[in-house]
């Protein structure tokens, strides 16, 4: 690592902390071309840039999965921890004690958070740990090549795995049930909304759950669907060649106005119905939020926007009444009781 720091030249546009957008970038993505996760990483870069975050003041976390690779694709100048499958929450919880002035941004997948990681996910929400918790939700396990995740819709059919029989786990409803203080949903193909919600999430003190629908171009495509990787219906049998992944464009939607709905066709030809929360929606009523989500489930709609927020609750580290100095900058004198205490201590031992 002998690179020297890039110097900000005069022509480069910089933000309020004097950094150019590229100071917020990460390594080039190794995800599939057209993967929804890529566009989310881009929006994280932009949101952090526009929020004037100092990259050194951000901690990045993830579990394991395609989605969980994302932290390498943004904020190269931030510390990152790509942990274990489903266990990002606990690592983040501990790490954020080190210096509570840092911003935590976690990226996880639906398999990572709703399957193996369900327990940790629920508990990090319940504790109101101050971090942005992004779930790049594609309904499948991308990195292990296309098994159902717990957010897959009922009736979805996948090659080698048959038809999904269970109701999908609704990340937002789960978050609210466990008393999350910030819950939003968006769609990777709606970069503007993703960015705005990210900014709100970063600003929120406490846990901010962002459920971002992020289609897997490669595996979440019904093998029996018209547009699966076959070469057309006129052939005797569709050929689903898993080792071949055509490069595709990311799906992007135009602006949906607040309260509006839109049908979006995914790469596999399936349709998701997106509905944007209207301006009349009040995200501070917990059970209105639950009701809205329940209705959306019944109507098979994907409602996007800020679903619930409770700004006042103290965050996890706040409840610990910590000293102002970051804990990881405390010195021996702060940490080791004075020499004279040992005699008192021994006296206390009977």
């Amino acid at each position: 690592m002998t690179e020297t720091l890039p110097m900000a030249g005069p022509a480069v546009q910089v933000n309020a902390v004097g950094l150019a957008r590229k100071e917020y970038q990460g390594n080039p993505s190794t995800l599939c071309q057209g993967c929804g996760h890529n566009s989310i990483a881009n929006q994280i870069v932009t949101a952090c840039y526009e929020m004037n975050l100092i990259p050194e003041k951000v901690l990045k976390f993830s579990g394991i999965g395609c989605s969980s690779k994302s932290p390498t694709y943004f904020l190269n100048r931030s510390f990152g921890f790509n942990g274990l499958h489903g266990r990002m929450p606990s690592v983040a919880t501990g790490a954020l004690f080190a210096d509570t002035s840092m911003n935590g941004i976690g990226v996880s997948g639906d398999g990572d958070s709703a399957s193996i990681g369900m327990g940790q996910f629920k508990h990090v929400v319940r504790r109101n740990v101050d971090m942005v918790y992004i779930i790049e939700n594609n309904g499948v396990y991308g990195l292990t090549k296309g098994q159902f995740s717990a957010t897959a819709e009922v009736g979805l059919e996948l090659k080698k795995h048959g038809i999904n029989q269970y109701m999908p786990i609704d990340i937002c409803m789960e978050s609210i049930a466990s008393n999350a203080t910030f819950v939003a949903r968006s769609f990777a193909g709606d970069p503007k909304q993703v960015k705005e919600l990210l900014k709100a999430a970063i600003a929120h003190k406490g846990i901010s759950v962002l459920d971002i629908i992020s289609p897997c171009v490669t595996f979440n495509n019904e093998s029996n669907a018209y547009h699966s990787y076959s070469w057309g219906k006129d052939h005797e049998a569709p050929l689903h060649e898993l080792s071949f992944i055509p490069a595709r464009d990311e799906i992007m939607v135009e602006d949906i106005e607040p309260g509006g709905t839109m049908d979006v066709e995914l790469h596999d030809g399936s349709i998701i119905k997106i509905k944007k929360l209207g301006n009349d929606y009040n995200p501070t009523h917990r059970w209105e939020a639950l009701k809205m989500l329940e209705e959306a489930q019944r109507e098979n709609q994907l409602v996007t926007g800020l679903i619930y927020v409770e700004p006042a609750k103290p965050s996890f580290t706040e409840t610990y009444n910590l000293v102002d100095t970051p804990l990881n900058r405390l010195a021996e004198t702060d940490l080791r009781p004075a020499r004279e205490t040992i005699a008192e201590l021994n006296a206390m031992m009977f």
């Binding site: 790509n82 942990g83 690592v91 919880t93 080190a98 009444n321 940490l335």
Partner: protein
């Protein structure tokens, strides 16, 4: 009456759990301790909360043997459910005290028998409110016993005063019950047993503590900052002691905290949080027992490979599986040594007593940061939850070792030219930066996947190989840092004994017995893995080295054979486990399986022995 037996016997009290008898038993223990007589206490309690039989054994030993003695000279029976068994357990020539409301036949004639009208005496204590009668009634047997074997009432008062945190009311209420018991005994009982206490000065300057408290205190002196934990017997009291003592010992004027103790939702999260904190630059630890340790396996592997400092206390209980949650064991050693899939090897500390629980409490944190690796500390239920007399805790004799950390200034000097996993010093230990470091080149990316010297992702075969070889080198380096074994060499020793952990006192006792049998031995108490050169030398020196431990499979023996294949034929295993703390008896018998004393005449250790658990040597010995 036989000849007087002074300061050399065991007392067992059989009661019901949840009845509050532990205060009474601790009082006896502490009073004897305050009389200057070496004493140890062991609580044999069931894995439930109320209503089941429980036993407390106090060993009084003028010679300072603190290990379990298999025979019970004095038995106090308060629990009808275990009465018959308790009675049968009294050593011939022993003494049997019992609550006289238990209407069961006392058939033995070879022992002294003392009925005690516990209920009646407590009813006469009018100051005791009726809802506390059952609780305080335990003090009656304390009083009777005090009178009959000579426990100094003043010392009992001191013990109660300590227990009740110097609050007079409860102290006196309980002490009055003790006195009532003593007075009744004085008036009504005639001593027909030989057991007596006489003051000594052998405990002067000593303290009494349990290992879990000691470990917590040690960690506090080690500057612990983050603890993620999940309740599990017998480790719970370690974390609870941190909750107890941190606010006292790390009190600040501004009332703010320099630490956080988080009860996690399970052990995976407990270690995960601690790893996060350790990565963040905090002195981080967790404490657990077997089942929790099993659940920590995946995270332990991550910490090993990503080189994250964290301390893991495993207060061992009997496995496999849920096993006997309230019984002691040394059964997690082999598992811990190779915890996690893939090639790994753990740094393990093996405290031998309460004093070392304190010492390793802070040292483990130093080592974890120095070596940038999870450091396991294997204690056990016997050491962790029972009260032991001990040398006073000693203030750390070295400053905190925070290991190789680069600050902003360091990075500036290096011009940002560093690699997280670059072995600059040739010792396998690399430099790290801490989150919050504001130098723009300080950040690195931590992962459990393949990475190169600059923490960059890689799948390159040779890079992966290189990193793994460096981890091996680091493990070599660890040998220079971990606590050295403690060796007691005997001139002309015919055999070497190698042991570790809480068996220490039983081993010492067994060695004295063996010496009396005519078998001279040297002993090495191993205090850490990886094994240092000294361990190898010790094994080399003796024709046979007998490895003594408290598990079924001889796990220390297994690990020594692995590490010293050429010496393996010399290593003999004496391993036994049934949940009871080690006794000199089975150790001695186990050793004698392999090594015969020169003079061939093996005298039995003690005349009075009562069989309760199986003799170990027969079954537990393995070549």
């Amino acid at each position: 009456m036989n000849q007087k037996v002074v300061n050399d016997f065991s007392i067992t009290v059989g009661t019901v759990n949840g009845s509050g008898s532990s205060t009474a038993n601790n009082t006896i223990l502490r009073a004897i301790f305050k009389m200057g007589i070496p004493v140890s206490g062991k609580n044999l309690f069931p894995s439930n909360i109320q209503g089941q039989p429980t036993w407390y054994t106090i060993r009084v030993s003028k010679d300072g043997y603190l290990g379990r003695d298999e025979s019970q000279q004095i038995v106090v029976a308060i629990n009808p459910a275990s009465f018959a068994r308790d009675l049968a357990g009294v050593a011939p020539g022993g003494a049997f005290f019992y609550a006289d409301d238990i209407k069961q036949p006392v058939t033995r004639t070879d022992i002294a028998v003392y009925p005690m009208p516990v209920k009646q005496i407590i009813r006469e204590q009018t100051e005791v409110p009726s809802n506390l009668r059952d609780l305080v009634s335990n003090m009656v047997y304390v009083g009777v016993l005090a009178q009959m074997i000579g426990i100094d009432l003043e010392k009992i008062h001191a013990a109660l005063d300590f227990h009740f945190k110097h609050r007079e009311k409860p102290t006196m209420m309980n002490f009055n019950a003790v006195k009532a018991g003593a007075e009744w005994a004085k008036a009504n009982l005639t001593k027909t047993d030989p057991f007596a206490l006489e003051p000594m000065s052998k405990t002067d300057g000593m303290i009494m503590a349990d290992g879990n408290t000691a470990a917590a205190l040690g960690a506090i002196y080690g500057g612990v900052q983050f603890v993620g934990w999940y309740p599990i017997t017998p480790a719970t009291s370690l974390a609870e002691s941190l909750n107890d003592y941190l606010p006292k010992l790390r009190k600040r004027e501004d009332g703010k905290h320099t630490y956080a103790v988080v009860q996690a939702e399970d052990e995976l999260a407990a270690l995960g949080m601690s790893i996060g904190a350790g990565w963040g630059g905090l002195r981080a630890m967790t404490s657990t027992s077997g089942p929790g340790l099993s659940l920590m396996t995946e995270f332990a592997g991550l910490a090993y490979y990503a080189e994250i400092p964290v301390v893991i206390w495993d207060v061992q209980r009997i496995g496999p599986s849920t096993g006997l949650p309230t019984r002691t064991s040394q059964g997690d050693l082999t598992f811990t040594a190779h915890i996690g899939h893939g090639d790994s090897h753990s740094v393990i500390l093996l405290p031998g007593d309460v004093f070392e629980c304190f010492e390793f409490g802070w040292k483990a944190l130093d080592l974890a940061e120095r070596l940038q690796t999870p450091v396991f500390v294997l204690s056990d239920l016997d050491m962790g939850m029972n009260q032991w007399m001990s040398k006073p805790f000693e203030y750390p004799d070295t400053p905190m070792d925070r290991g190789k950390v680069l600050s902003e200034k360091d990075l500036e000097e290096l011009k940002g030219n560093w690699g997280r996993y670059l072995d600059k010093d040739g010792d396998g230990i690399t430099y790290r930066t801490l989150p919050g470091n504001q130098h723009p080149l300080s950040a690195y990316f931590t992962r459990g996947t393949g990475h190169d010297e600059y923490a960059k992702y890689t799948e390159e075969a040779n890079v992966f190989y290189r990193v793994m070889e460096r981890l091996k080198l680091k493990h070599e380096t660890a040998k220079d840092y971990v606590p050295a074994p403690i060796v007691h060499e005997t001139r002309g020793a015919e055999v070497g004994i190698l042991a570790y952990g809480s068996t220490e006192s039983a081993v010492e006792e067994a060695r004295d017995q063996l010496a009396a049998d005519g078998l001279k031995s040297s002993v090495m108490r191993v205090r850490a893995l990886p094994f240092s050169k000294t361990v190898e030398k010790f094994i080399q020196k003796y024709e046979q080295v007998i490895v003594v431990e408290m598990n079924r499979d001889g796990q220390m023996h297994q690990l020594l054979c692995m590490d010293f294949p050429t010496l393996a034929p010399k290593l003999k295993s004496v391993a036994f486990q049934d949940g009871m703390p080690a006794s000199a008896k089975w150790i001695r018998e186990g050793v004698l399986k392999f090594a015969k004393p020169a003079k061939k005449k093996v005298a039995p250790t003690k005349k009075i022995t009562v069989k309760k658990s199986k003799t170990p040597a027969k079954k537990g010995a393995k070549k």
